[in-house]
């Protein structure tokens, strides 16, 4: 497309970005408000952040979420990468259509359906609901996103490199680990990050599949939010936003430097 921005283009960009960022900016600013009332500006303060550190239940929920996110993102990266490699390399014949249908379904399907069907499944096989059922549910959904990202990378991958390694006598698994994996690594890492944040973010699927004693951070925030706006929630949201922003920016800088090499 021809480059160059007209006045209309610039307006669209400015309005669009303002729309995307203004609500988040307001939330962040008000998390530093001394006043308990969100409507009154009482001056800058970090008291709601110190209050967070004393909130045992909230910290526990954050820990549950981090644990679920870490385990499910790691498992999803392995399964998702394998699926992408299988789709790119294997002769699947008729299976290909049903395989990719199963892969794309959790991405587009409304979360209430995924959550409900998974819960009914866990009950049917008599699995105790808790941290592990949430983790299994998150692996299932996020692995499909990992596949999507890795698949896009593999579309332009030169398989003759892996073939060369095997011609030189490397067994297939070793050729994959020593040649292919290091080359597609940025895509796998991006997939892991996406899986991690999706898991950290999820309320609906976790609500269906969780059990006693496994309250994730979104479930906890949701029950607070239903009761109205509280400055503590602004503070915990700001912490989450800052963490994600730092990770995403660091990741994009890393891949950019890699690309520049």
């Amino acid at each position: 497309m021809r480059k160059g921005l007209s006045f209309t283009n610039l307006t669209a960009l400015a309005l669009g970005l303002a729309f995307l960022y203004l609500p988040i900016a307001i939330l962040v600013i008000y998390s530093f408000n001394t006043s308990r009332l969100v409507t009154v500006w009482g001056g800058w303060s970090t008291r709601w952040y110190t209050a967070l550190l004393a909130d045992r239940a909230l910290l526990d929920a954050a820990f549950v979420s981090l644990r679920v996110g870490f385990i499910s993102a790691t498992a999803a990266s392995i399964l998702g990468t394998l699926a992408a490699v299988a789709l790119a390399r294997a002769r699947l014949f008729r299976l290909r259509a049903s395989f990719s249908a199963l892969l794309y379904a959790p991405i587009v399907m409304p979360e209430v359906i995924t959550g409900l069907t998974l819960l009914l499944f866990f009950v049917a096989i008599d699995l105790d609901r808790g941290v592990w059922t949430v983790t299994l549910a998150h692996i299932t959904v996020t692995m499909c996103f990992v596949t999507l990202i890795v698949q896009a990378r593999l579309a332009s991958f030169d398989w003759s490199l892996e073939d060369a390694a095997m011609d030189l006598g490397a067994p297939p698994s070793r050729a994959f680990l020593a040649v292919t994996l290091p080359l597609i690594w940025p895509a796998v890492a991006a997939g892991w990050l996406l899986a991690f944040t999706l898991s950290l973010d999820d309320l609906v699927i976790a609500s269906f599949t969780t059990g006693p004693g496994a309250t994730t951070l979104p479930i906890r925030i949701y029950s607070d939010v239903r009761l109205g706006v509280k400055p503590e929630i602004n503070a915990i949201c700001t912490v989450m936003i800052a963490t994600v922003a730092l990770v995403v920016i660091a990741a994009s800088l890393l891949t950019k430097r890699r690309a520049a090499h």
Binding site: T8, L20, L102, T117, A152, T197, V229
Partner: protein, 311 residues
């Protein structure tokens, strides 16, 4: 590189690793996606009881053939007729489809100019803009909706602003209204529309539009007759990526809407969590799935074709 040479020739050598690579994720998806849907179908034909699990009949594998026949006889389509005859559920489905259609149209209208401007920006700026559009998408969904509660509540910033500017005399009840639901949905799903649109617009050949301009076509005509038709794949992908999940949306109407904006995701949630009617919740979910099968299959087809093309 020909596919036959690499795959045919080495088919034997790589067999067990590749088989594992296929088998593991495939088995996982069959177990955790296909099987749960089938179980939900079975439960949708059951009746609610006060027990654990809260439905009958329950299949008893040790009962043999007679137990199986008895189990099949106890299943019924009663719940399905109930969904289609009860006006509450029909209204809920229609409301969801209406909200999804209207908000998808709004997102397209707002997203197109943004994606168009992004595609026209200089290369270096483009990657920054891309990060800026993706970043809110990485921020928790719940947080973004909560941010809007901050703004839209009765004594929130929007009302303060309108009051101080003298536009309104009394605060407006923004929350618990259709307007708030539309704002929340448009805000949350905007990146899902902008990204696929940007991807197609960015790849578009500038020569086509320059040729049209050289032949004397006015800018609006170039836009409608060249840019828009060529960006159709992006429009379709964006529309599907928004429409399908919005139909089943729960969090946004629950936090920003009122009881008059009861969407089907909320109805399902209530059936399950408040009424503990698992069979009925399954019926609601499966009927929603049937409604969405067309758009989902279309989206999968587009995805597969896009990847095929990229190869």
């Amino acid at each position: 590189m020909s596919e036959g040479a690499t795959q045919g020739g080495r088919g034997m050598r790589r067999s067990w690793t590749l088989r594992l690579a296929i088998l593991l994720p495939f088995a996982w998806l069959v177990l955790f996606v296909l099987l749960p849907t089938l179980i939900a179908f079975k439960i949708s034909l059951s009746q609610t009881v006060l027990a654990q699990p809260p439905y009958v009949p329950v299949l008893n594998p040790s009962g043999g053939w007679d137990a199986f026949v008895g189990f099949l006889n106890a299943l019924s389509f009663e719940n399905y007729t109930a969904v289609f005859t009860d006006s509450l559920y029909l209204a809920s489905y229609l409301k969801s489809l209406q909200v999804a259609a209207l908000s998808t149209a709004l997102i397209l209208l707002i997203g197109y100019p943004i994606a168009y401007a992004m595609a026209r920006a200089p290369r270096g700026v483009q990657s920054v803009l891309l990060i800026l559009v993706i970043l809110p998408f990485w921020t928790a969904f719940l947080i973004r909706i909560y941010a809007w509660i901050n703004i839209l509540q009765r004594d929130g910033l929007l009302n303060q602003l309108l009051l101080s500017l003298g536009i309104v005399d009394a605060p407006i009840a923004w929350l618990a209204s259709d307007t708030a639901v539309y704002i929340g949905i448009v805000y949350s799903y905007l990146p899902f529309m902008v990204l696929p649109l940007y991807a197609t617009l960015e790849r578009m050949d500038a020569a086509l539009r320059e040729a049209a301009a050289d032949l004397g076509a006015p800018p609006w005509k170039i836009f409608w007759q060249i840019t828009v038709p060529l960006s159709r794949p992006g429009i379709l992908a964006g529309v599907l990526l928004c429409f399908i999940p919005i139909v089943g949306e729960f969090v946004i109407p629950d936090l920003l809407g009122s009881s008059s904006t009861l969407m089907i995701g909320q109805t399902l949630w209530t059936e399950f969590f408040a009424n503990r009617d698992w069979p009925f919740a399954s019926v609601v979910a499966l009927v929603m799935l049937v409604i969405l099968v067309g758009p989902i299959v279309l989206y999968e087809h587009l995805q597969a074709r896009a990847l095929e093309k990229a190869r």
